[in-house]
Structures are given as C-alpha cells and as structure tokens.
Amino acid sequence: MLVFIFKRIIVLFLTMICLSFIVFTLVTIEPNLKKLALNQANMRMEEAAVQSWLEKHGYKRPLLVQYGEWLGNAVTGDFGYSTHFRKPVNEVIWPKVGHTGILMFWVLIITIPISLFIGVLSGMREGSKTDRTLSIFSIITTSVPQYVSGILFTIILSSWLGLFKGVAKAGNITFENFALPVLTIVVYDIGYIARMTRASMVEVMNAQYVRTARLKGMSFMSVVFKHALRNALIAPFTVIMLQFPWLLTGVVIVEKLFNYKGFGFLIVSASDQNDIDVTLACGVVAVVLVLTTQLISDIGYAFLNPRIRFS
C-alpha cells in the first residue's frame, strides 16, 4: 500500500513538472512578452527597444533556464509580481483562492448528497417511473451548460421574480449572494454525478449477490442499504474526484457570469490583462488542485474496495 502511494506521488510530481512547464511555455510566448514590454515600459517603443527590454529582463535566455529560475522561486513560495495589481502574486492569489473555496464548499455540500440520493433512488429500481423521470431530469441538467443555466436563472429568479441580485460579491457569505452561483453549478453537476451513481447502482442491483441477499429473506430496503449501497458508491466516489477539472471550469464560468471575484475570475482577468506571473501561478494552482484530488481518489478507491486493499 505504501509503495503504491509512494509511486503515485512520484508520478504526481512528474506530471506537475510537465504541466507547469507547458503552462510556462504557453504563457511566455513571444507576443505576450512583447505586449508586456510595451505595457511596462513605453507604449510606443520601437521593435529594437522592445527587444532590448526583453534582453534586459532576462526573457531572451533559453526557455529551460527561465523555467528553472521560475520553478526555483515557485518551490520556495515566490510566484513573482503581478503587473496589474502591482503587488506580489502571493498577496493577490490566495485571498481569491479562499473566496472560491467558500463557493466550492457550498457547491459540494449541496451537490453530493442530492446527486447521490437521486442516483441511488433511480438506480434502485431500473426502468421504474421514478427512474425514468429522474434520468430524464439528469439528462436535461447535464445538457444545459452553466453559462446558459446561469443566465436563465438570472432572468427568471432575478429579473422576473426579483429574488436575487444578478451579481455575487466575493467574501460576503449570505444566502442572497450565493444562491444564484451555487444553484448554477449545482444543477449542472447534480445531473452528471447522479447519472454515474445511477449506472453504478443499476449494475450492483443486477448483481447476483443482491439476489442472494434478497433470497436470504432480507427486505428490499435493507438489501439496498446493507449490500448494494457500499458497492454502488465506490465508482461515483472516483467520479466526483475526477470531476474536479470540470468543476473548476464551471466555477470559472460562474464567477465570470456573476462577477464573483474569486480564483476563476482571476484566471480570466489575468490572461486578458497579460499578467504573466499571475496567469502562471493560477495555472499551477489549478493543476496542483486537480492532481491532488486525483491522488486522493486513487487512494480512496483502493481503500473502499477490499479486492484491492487485501490482494
């Protein structure tokens, strides 16, 4: 088991280095740097002046050297300086990550129980009316991306019914503030996780050991709770974890849509404003988050599944 975790962590670091290198290469391409030079020094610089500015700030060195330098700083916790906010990246990025963390917390706390409940309920009796209704409900919610559902919710709940504001202020934890963004992400994710849970539940309910348990004389509900549930929830567990990159995309869309100044909003504005160090840091933070959840998912899967744990 320890060997397994150790191996996974090594792969994780390798992946992280590859990914951060890709991010670094794509962010520090020539056109972006030129724009940076024009922005930082003088908007009406000649080409030659731009080149010498780049030379002076070390952007003309080989890519690997630059990356090594950046990586060295990043490992010690120094992510550079934000040209837009005019302060160190660390001061910019972590509060925003916190804001997004709060948003994600509410999303997960609502999504997971509801989607598991829906999935189990519809997978319990395959083909029943409840199953068909819930399945179609989840197909519909997964078909409507957040930038569509968010707008529709705003029109209905905010413009027509006047219940909420169409924007969400970061750091202000109120129901009115969070309702729309959370609802938007939750509705989309519920459908996805519920469908996975349903598929897994259907498979388990058709398994022979469920029949064995039923023919032992156990009632339907106690078979569901004692025998089916645990096996049925192993797969959705990993799905929820692997959902993370996709969840993050949803968060970016929703933050942009509702002007919520969190991590997602920062990614968008930093790229738009050519804020190179911030974009780099955001990219790396996102990738680290995703990979960590994947690691947790792998280990968790092994723990939940005795076939792997004891072999």
């Binding site: 020539e30 197909i139 413009s159 996102a286």
Partner: protein, 383 residues
C-alpha cells in the same frame, strides 16, 4: 412602432421553418419504412426518448442546411433604428418582423440563431470526428500492444485531462498564440491522423493484393495531401480549401482537449475486446497486428463509440459555447451561439428575452444529442 403579437410570432416561426419540417417528415417516413434494415437507428422507433433526441438533432441539421431559406434577415446586417427591440417588432421600412427581437447592434436574433447553427454544426462534429480519429489511431495500439508505448501515451493523455478545460483554452486560444505558428503545428499534426488512418485501413486489408492496394493508396495520398495543405497550412494549390485562422485555432484546441478522452475510451475497449477468442482465431490464421486492430477489434467497439460520439459532439458544442462566452477565438461579429450569448448577456436587465434564442438553441441541440445517446445506449444494451 409596429409590433405583432406572440401568436403571430410563432406562426411566422413555424412557417419560416418549412424546409426543415418537410425534410424531417421525409426522413422520418423513409426511416420508418426501412426501420428493420437500419440496426440501432431502426430500434429507436421503439424508444420515445431516443426518438425525441433524433428529432431535435435532425431539426438543427436541417435548419443549418436550409439557413438561407429560413432566415428573415442577413445575420450581420445592423440597423441603428432597431436596437435591442423585443420580439415581434416589425421593421417598418422592409415590413419584415424581428420575430425574436434584435441585439444591441440591431441585428435580427432569429436569423443569427439560424446562421449560428451552421457554424456550430460544422465545427462541433468535424472537431469531434478528428478527435475520434486521433483517439482511435493512438488508443488501438495502446490497448492492444500495451507496454512502453501505452505507458507514455496514457501519461500524456492524463496530462491533458488534468488541465481544467478553460485554462487550456486561455492558453491555446489566446490572441498571442495566433501570432505564433503553434496552431498551425497542432493542426498540422492532428490533420495527419485522418490520412494515416485511411492509409492503415486500406493497407491492412489489401496488403496481400497489390492490384487493389497501390491505386487506393495513391487516391488517398492525392486527396489527403490536397485537403491537408488547404486545411492545416492554408496553402491549397487550387485555392479551393481554406479555413479561417481563428477557426483553425479553435479547431486545434478543441481536438487537443477532446482526443485524450477518446483515447482512454478506445484503449479500454481494446483491452477488453482483445481477450476474445475471435482475436485469437485471427492470430492463429496469421493476421498481423494492424489487421487485428482495425478489422477485428475496432468494428466490435462501434456500439459504445457511437453512443459516446453523440455525447462528445454535445460536449464539444458546450466547449465551443464556452469559447464564445469568454470571447475567445471567434470573430467578434460571429453569430455562433456562444458568441451571441456573450454579446447579449449584458442587456438581460433591459430586454430579458435577448439571450433566449442562442441559449435555448444551444441547450436544445445538446439535449437532443444526449437524449439520442441515451436512446442508442438503451437499445444497444437490449440486443
């Protein structure tokens, strides 16, 4: 200002869409008559959910094909007089109603929505198709041969999948990127796969029959090279095939983001199918690896692949919408649904209906694909 009421709006809406209705009626009656010969599609007639999905998808396909007949206005034509008008406002000088209203530049939303379907329905399936070819070409050997090849490719696929898509797009579809040759290189690599795949299909089947093999290879090379030069490097010697650099950039980014998923799916299916006896039977009669992968394994993976392709086209449609929503890649004027949402969403306080045409169009198309996939999956399980 002259307006028409909502009943008249819907009347005009249904009347304008007559080419789509006629085409749908013909398709469904023909399909119903021959449903026994159509395999899984024929079974859909017993599955209301899948049938509704098929209906919606075909509706949009025909809307895109007959856009010129259906639209009331030019999608790019602006009108200073009729800006952000609610549905039903009539353009008094032309006497034509804006049945779904106008956007902030006075362009007809209905016509933009219909023309937008052309862009979406061209790029989404095409990008999915290329992603599929890439995923299949790499996934088959990864699953069948395994070993180092598989380890490296799986690592790369996981690398791409670990990126949040939106971050990937901000890195790959940024304006700065388009000034470099990166999009062309990516497209250049991706467009090689269809040619290579076609060559492998023909080669594996006819390698023992040179009189069939060489002519077919020659045809593939000529047509492939022509399309390749035109699409990937915009240098078609005949000047017939070309693609807008914006669209090429989007195309490459979408393929890049989608193909790892296909790769993983194909790899998993291959690993399952290769244990079957008919694969061993092929080996014992001396078939090569190529033949086994392409002719013995791939056809038997088609069920899950078809279902997945419906889902994936829907997913790519959502991705394209995301790009438009963030104003990435597409031209600012573009009537594609994502860009339309981006262009109109600031005005929902003034005219709430202004975002409805693109949002509902996009949601309904994706819903149609998902319902179709669900129907197909259910029918394929029943056999």
């Amino acid at each position: 200002m002259e307006t028409i009421n909502s009943i008249e709006i819907w009347q005009i809406f249904f009347m304008r869409l007559w080419p789509a209705w006629v085409a749908l009626a013909i398709t469904f009656s023909v399909a119903y008559r021959f449903k026994k010969n159509l395999g899984a599609i024929g079974h859909l007639f017993d599955n209301p959910v899948g049938l509704i999905g098929l209906f919606i998808v075909l509706f949009w396909i025909y809307a895109a094909i007959f856009a010129d007949l259906i639209a009331l206005f030019d999608p790019l034509e602006q009108s200073g007089l009729y800006r952000r008008k609610p549905p039903g406002t009539v353009n008094s000088s032309l006497g034509i109603p804006y049945i779904f209203g106008t956007d902030t530049l006075g362009r007809d939303l209905f016509s933009r929505m219909i023309y937008g379907s052309q862009i979406v329905l061209l790029i989404a399936p095409a990008a999915s198709l290329v992603a599929y070819v890439v995923g299949i070409t790499l996934g088959l050997p990864a699953g069948y041969i395994g070993g180092k090849f598989d380890t490296v490719l799986s690592f790369l696929a996981n690398l791409v999948l670990a990126f949040p898509v939106i971050l990937l797009f901000y890195l790959l579809v940024a304006p700065g990127i388009r000034e470099t040759i990166l999009p062309n290189i990516m497209a250049g690599v991706f467009f090689l796969f269809p040619i290579a795949f076609a060559v492998l299909i023909v080669y594996s089947r006819f390698s023992d029959r040179p009189n069939v093999l060489y002519p077919s290879l020659a045809v593939i090379f000529i047509i492939g090279a022509w399309l390749y030069l035109g699409l990937a490097f915009n240098s078609d010697p005949l000047g017939l095939v070309s693609i807008d650099p914006n669209e090429l950039n989007i195309f490459a980014a979408v393929v890049f983001a989608t193909s790892p998923g296909v790769f993983r799916l194909v790899r998993g299916l291959t690993m399952d199918i290769k244990t079957r006896d008919y694969v061993s039977a092929a080996m014992t009669r001396g078939e090569g690896r190529l033949f086994i992968m392409i002719w013995e394994i791939l056809p038997n993976a088609r069920g899950p692949l078809i279902v997945d392709s419906c889902l994936r086209i829907g997913y790519v449609t959502i991705l394209l919408g995301t790009l438009g929503f963030f104003g990435l890649g597409m031209e600012p004027e573009s009537p594609d649904w994502g860009s339309m949402i981006n262009q109109t969403r600031s005005y929902i306080r003034l005219v709430p209906t202004i975002v409805l045409p693109p949002t509902l169009a996009l949601a309904s198309f994706v819903l149609g694909l998902n319902l179709l996939a669900d129907g197909l999956r259910e029918e394929s399980v029943k056999d």
